[in-house]
Symmetry: C2
């Protein structure tokens, strides 16, 4: 079943009040654009977004038969997220799970499973985000209706190819970034809008987990309300710039960083032609996908320059905790 | 008018669908416990939480006459938050603003203003958080009803005194913390539940803004999904431990930090007797207040040990940006 049919079937059973997005780490962050889309466009549907263990230990009262719980786990074995499916089912919620791993633990109690790819190419890594966003669009369209539904569907038909091409074209810039940042001991990452948690996963996963580089992350609108006092010549920042309603927020942060000679790397959706294929009314929601694809190349080159493979771990997968 | 009367008056005018919490930096973070309370307990009311500039540039469609927008700014002059009041009013929403500054810009377009104190003592610094939480409780009680309303009211009558006493009793531990952490170049801060954004404001405001110390922050449940790979002997962490449903999540992170000899400072609500005055059914929501009060003393001592006053800035209030 595709996302449209899944939502149709759920709607035949129950009226839907609430949508919960639940995951851990990068899989949590990958659900954020869908959450952001509903926050922006829904007038009745409730939306929230949890790290799985908090959802499990402190389950909201509204997890019931009028709720859709959308969970994600790349390998499908993340214990907290698997438990979230059980918690949600026990409360009577409708559970849709996203994973790449057929018959993984996550699929056992899910009412519906959507399989995505991941390793095949840069575009495949975006399917988790894209399929969650598709579900959000379907839920809105089939409950309250959504004025730009066709524009989103058209966007989905184009974003993967554009993102793949963008990633492939970013290698040279990525190598420059890697040479410039390979010896830094701390790197900050910021963004805004639907891309807010791409900055988050870039910081906690690509930097801290996969490179053991100290890192912090915040919304680029929050930069001026605390973090900017850390700005100094050569303090390293990565700014993920959106093309859309929140671009001005990112641009203001960039102006400040440049004014004080902070070391700044910018990955800008505008540079990769997002607006040439995505309608302006819905462009905000596609920024996270193209920026994720491009920054993956930056991370690969950083790993090469630092001789620290992205797969290297000291704790994860190696011991129980 | 008190929070009960304010909500009553709004409810007489319009049915309320959505509640928006809007602020910047620490004032944004101070609204989080109220947002968390409604996420946990509401079944119909929609809840969201924005940094003000994102609310302004990318205003959700549900900001209308069925929305209550609650804004906060300590000095009442934060430009983005003042603009948020105008944006909300233009869309027909009901605006309640929290500030300590009589007749400040924030008060001009607000429908209702709740003044809080701040500088008088440690308890006064909690009023912004507490009054926002009171508003959330009133909104829930007067729309859907709330089973533990009286327990929350009872909690509000006790939390300020307990927090003041706790802060006053924390001086010795705070001095030890300051001596141990004063030379660190990076300090991570984490927590969970209603205290999640106390960790956030501790990181971006107390550490980055007020001490120019590098810092990162994340939910303690997310620690195991990326950030924990940075753990090593002597890497500095601050863990703000909750007494309530998410305590197990914090405790799991602590166990890991101790296992690998990370440098760990713990501020634990349990140590300050939160459960002796607050009912177990509502204790989660009062953790942020007692922990904020105690950590303020830690920050004061860190500032003394580092000879870097909490009021020292290089950009904020000094230039336009």
């Amino acid at each position: 079943m595709n996302s449209k049919e899944i939502v149709q079937e759920i709607m035949q059973k129950n009226e839907v009040d609430s949508v919960f997005f639940v995951g851990c780490g990068a899989s949590k962050a990958d659900l954020y654009p869908a959450k952001y889309f509903l926050d922006q466009n829904a007038k009745k549907i409730r939306v929230s977004h949890y790290t799985a263990n908090e959802f499990n230990k402190s389950t909201p009262l509204s997890v019931n038969e009028h709720a859709i719980v959308i969970t994600a786990s790349l390998g499908g074995a993340t214990p907290e997220t698997v438990t979230a499916n059980s918690v949600a089912k026990e409360k009577g919620a409708h559970v849709i799970s996203l994973t790449r791993t057929v018959d993984s633990a996550l699929t056992k109690e899910a009412d519906y499973v959507i399989y995505h790819r991941f390793g095949e190419n840069y575009a495949a890594k975006l399917e988790k985000t894209g399929y969650a966003l598709e579900l959000a669009v379907e839920i809105l369209q089939q409950t309250e209706g959504y004025n730009h539904y066709e524009k989103m569907i058209d966007g989905f038909s184009k974003i993967y190819n554009l993102s793949q091409q963008s990633a492939e074209s970013a290698r040279l810039e990525a190598k420059k970034f890697a040479q410039a940042y390979k010896d830094d001991s701390v790197i900050y990452v910021m963004s805004s809008g639907a891309t807010h948690e791409v900055a988050y996963s870039t910081s906690i996963c690509l930097m801290m987990e996969m490179q053991w580089i100290h890192s912090g992350t915040f919304h680029s609108g929050e930069f001026f309300h605390g973090p900017f006092e850390i700005t100094d010549k050569d303090v390293p920042f990565v700014l993920l710039m959106n093309d859309g309603k929140t671009r001005e927020i990112d641009a203001r942060a960039l102006t400040f960083l440049e004014r004080f000679d902070a070391k700044t790397a910018v990955v800008d959706a505008l540079d990769y032609g997002l607006s040439s294929v995505i309608d302006a009314e819905v462009i905000d929601y596609f920024n996270p996908m193209i920026i994720t694809a491009v920054f993956r190349v930056y991370a690969e080159e950083l790993a090469i320059a630092r001789e620290h493979p992205l797969t290297k771990r000291r704790y994860m997968w190696k011991l129980s905790y």
